[in-house]
């Protein structure tokens, strides 16, 4: 005896726009407001180098977190994995490895950590919070161990190009982010794998009984997510030409915030790549505007937190309107 399905009722046009776009309206308002009110916001230099580059790390990892959230899980270890993978690449380069094997090995290291996370969560049935909280610390420890707790410089110029190159006038990290958005967007929206991820988040038991290989999907979600975290770590190492075991702290929370801000459901089953794009852009724009306006750092924390709260409250309001 749930909500009945009866003769349709005409919806108001505003309702429709809000249902479809929701938080997108907020982003557009934010962009327009910034363009009008903040000098320099629209300059190419600001848009590409300040705003663009500031969102690459969060954006790349968010592509993977989207899948984890869609499937009703999340991963707290991504910050540690990014730092660790950056260190792996830097150490390998310092030992004389070429840039290609160094990058590949870091990505594989990330993949393995993620697969281990996924295995523990999906097969052993430990919840994602505890599992990734533990691996977050373990992997952070590994990052320190790699070079006795010291950061390590990178001299290899062709590796550094991953972070500093600008093909067609756009920095490499932005190209990387764009590539990830396209690939993972297609993966979520156009493949059975993506649908299965959403189904697991929507009702895991039903998905399993319907023949979805739930464990396999969960393990690969975590593996891919960690690999993306490793990629973000490698890109950042190339940008700074420095492997830093202390880096990337708090990345997991920034990534999850961005996804939720954009409209990905924390309880699973709902998510799209446009949510990630919107969420990441809102976070980046706010940060960028605060920097341009020289808002003191302490106040920036207040504003970022308030925006996240406002976004989820708005979403709640929206849901109250639609369901039941």
């Amino acid at each position: 005896m749930s909500t009945p399905e009866k003769s349709p009722v005409i919806e108001s046009p505003f309702r429709k726009v809000w249902d479809r776009a929701g938080i997108l309206v907020v982003l557009v308002a934010l962009l327009v407001g910034s363009a009008v009110l903040v000098p320099n916001f629209l300059s190419t230099n600001n848009l590409i180098y300040s705003l663009g580059l500031s969102v690459t790390t969060t954006g790349i990892v968010a592509c993977g977190m989207l899948f984890a959230l869609a499937a009703g899980d999340f991963d707290l270890s991504v910050g540690s994995v990014a730092a660790f993978a950056g260190m792996v690449a830097a150490v390998l380069l310092s030992k004389g490895f070429g840039p290609v094997p160094a990058v590949l090995l870091s990505l594989v290291a990330g993949l393995f950590i993620g697969a281990a996370n996924g295995f523990i969560i999906a097969v052993c049935g430990i919840n994602a919070l505890i599992t990734t909280l533990a691996t977050m610390q373990i992997v952070r420890g590994l990052a320190y161990i790699l070079n006795d707790g010291n950061s390590i410089g990178v001299g290899n110029m062709s590796f550094a190009a991953l972070g500093t190159g600008t093909p067609l006038g756009v920095p490499m990290p932005l190209w990387t982010l764009l590539f990830c958005l396209v690939v993972f967007g297609l993966l979520l929206h156009r493949t059975v794998y993506g649908r299965n991820s959403l189904a697991i988040g929507g009702n895991k038991e039903a998905a399993h009984l319907a023949g979805v290989p739930t464990k396999k999907v969960q393990i690969t979600i975590f593996a891919l997510l960690s690999m993306l975290a490793a990629l973000a770590g490698v890109v950042s190492t190339a940008q700074q030409q420095l492997g830093d075991p202390k880096g990337m702290t708090g990345l997991e929370l920034r990534v999850i915030s961005a996804c939720v801000l954009g409209g990905v459901s924390l309880t699973g089953g709902i998510g799209s790549i446009s949510h990630v794009i919107v969420g990441v852009l809102i976070m980046g724009t706010v940060q960028n505007v605060m920097d341009l306006k020289s808002v003191p750092t302490f106040y920036q924390y207040l504003i970022s937190g308030a925006i996240l709260l406002a976004a989820v409250l708005l979403d709640k309001l929206k849901q109250r309107g639609t369901s039941r």
Binding site: M1, P4, E5, A206, L209, G211
Partner: protein, 491 residues
């Protein structure tokens, strides 16, 4: 003074749940509120309880128009709605539940003495004698229901609405409930009684109202003016062939053979055969191992031993993916928990788990979903509708649509008609018969004997984790089924 519903309308985005419902309920009467799932009964109750706001229309009690903005207003106006899923906090004690929100206190400390003596007094109103300190979670459903009714009485509710109150009660508990309802009537209160069970309606109700598709169909001010058939006709809006609609059909050769199957919940090795076009029932009490057998065949739980032969091929271990691939489809018991992904739309739900390629074929999936929706007459505005918004019967039809996609040979149905209304039930039966006529072998688990006797060619009975007997259609009676299903005295 009566309770009057006057032109109540309520719409949800995309759905009109109630379209101008008006009727009157006399005081000191028990009034049946009937209708199929999705007819609008729940919406009406929720409006009464203040959980929903009507878009238009009035509620009139004691000659006064009620303004109910929230649940507190409803309680203050003397209206208590008792839902099927009871609204008690299982972790708290009986006393704490009864006084949730207004615990008696002295200087900020809980006044235990008053709390417990008041609790005893209130429980006595419904003839219950439960220790006030008992945790509600430890009590049987029947007693929890009594606590809810007691709670309503403690607030001197004039209108008490009961939503399918007997659905999980034993017959003795039902008698006690009826005695209490009888008293409520004598005290001049109004009882709104929602139920699907005809015998109950005709036993305790004085009047009846039927809703269909959000519209008021008819109100009978005395129940004698109508017959059970008349009520069913009003609810469904057409004649329904009752459950005993067996059609004989050609039965082919053996398609599935289960040998020595053993696993969790099974005590003795299971073996049986299913023939093409055969509908075989699987009866037993709760916990007899029926669901376990289906899960072992479909590979959703791992078998410890045994073999499954399907059309000449032998399999020792299946998993859900493989089972589907070779033509064994399972519709699980608990639709909400195990069947549907409620927030996904019908297209996604129908295609879930049966996709073969890696890339989604949007158009083909839509076509598939639309074909199933048409074939099974799933009532929905479109296949883009969230499946969670459909009624139980329509969800069930969509889930059957999921598994029949590819060369289905064996269909395993676990309680497919539990909790769905009469019209949808006969449609599900029709679907099963049609599939059988096309050569599918069906294994049907059901707790309803009339259902099994109505459509099965043969019935297997389980007791305590083993198959205790098999009855062909000609020899199957309710007595024989029960005899085989009841535990034997330990030998």
């Amino acid at each position: 003074m009566p309770l009057i519903f006057d032109g109540i309308e309520k719409a949800f985005p995309g759905v009109r749940a109630l379209g101008g419902v008006s009727f009157e309920v006399r005081e000191g009467s028990v009034h049946a509120l009937m209708g199929e799932n999705g007819a609008g009964k729940s919406t009406l109750l929720k409006i009464l309880s203040g959980a929903y706001h009507p878009d238009s229309g009035k509620l009139i009690l004691d000659g006064q128009e009620l303004t109910i903005r929230n649940t507190q207003d409803a309680l203050a106006a003397g209206i208590a709605v008792i839902y099927q899923e009871l609204q008690l906090v299982p972790q708290l004690t009986v006393a704490e539940n009864l006084f949730l929100g207004h615990l008696p206190s002295k200087f900020g400390w809980t006044d235990r003495k008053t709390l417990h003596s008041e609790t005893k007094r209130i429980l006595a109103l419904v003839g219950e004698d439960i220790r006030p300190e008992t945790q509600v979670g430890r009590l049987p459903i029947a007693q929890r229901q009594m606590i809810e009714i007691a709670k309503a009485l403690s607030r001197d509710a004039k209108v008490i609405a009961l939503d399918e109150p007997t659905s999980s009660l034993s017959s003795r508990e039902v008698e006690r409930l009826f005695a209490v309802i009888q008293r409520l009537r004598e005290e001049g209160r109004i009882v709104l009684y929602v139920s699907h069970r005809m015998d109950e309606i005709f036993r305790i109700c004085d009047a009846a109202t039927v809703l269909r598709d959000g519209q008021h169909v008819q109100t009978w001010s005395t129940i004698n003016e109508v017959t059970p058939d008349g009520l069913v006709r009003a609810m469904v809006g057409r004649e329904v062939d009752t459950l005993n609609a067996y059609r004989s059909r050609p039965i082919g050769e053996t398609t599935l053979t289960v040998r020595d199957l053993i696993g969790p919940g099974i005590r003795e090795k299971i073996g049986f055969e299913l023939k093409k076009g055969e509908i075989v029932g699987l009866f037993g009490l709760v916990g007899a191992g029926r669901t376990e057998v289906l899960n072992l065949i479909a590979g959703t739980t791992k078998a410890k031993g045994g073999q499954i032969d399907l059309d000449g091929n032998s399999y020792s271990a299946l998993n859900p993916q493989k089972a589907l691939k070779i033509g064994i489809g399972l519709c699980p018991e608990d639709r909400k928990k195990e069947g549907i992904v409620p927030i996904a739309n019908i297209t996604d739900n129908v295609n879930l788990g049966v996709r073969k390629s890696f890339v989604i074929k949007g158009r083909a999936e839509r076509a598939n979903a639309e074909a199933r929706v048409q074939q099974f007459r799933v009532r929905t505005p479109s296949v883009d509708q969230k499946i969670g918004n459909l009624s139980g019967g329509n969800q069930q039809k969509a889930i059957i649509g999921r598994v029949i996609g590819h060369n289905l040979k064996v269909l395993l149905l676990d309680e497919p008609t539990r909790g769905i209304d009469i019209g949808a039930k006969s449609e599900v039966h029709e679907i099963v018969r049609n599939l059988a006529e096309q050569g599918v072998a069906v294994l049907l688990v059901s707790s309803e004997m009339p259902e099994l006797l109505g459509i099965c060619d043969r019935i297997l009975v389980m007791e305590g984790g083993r198959i205790s007997g098999e009855l062909p259609r000609s020899k199957a009676t309710q007595e024989r089924l029960l005899e085989l299903a009841l535990p034997k005295k330990s030998s």
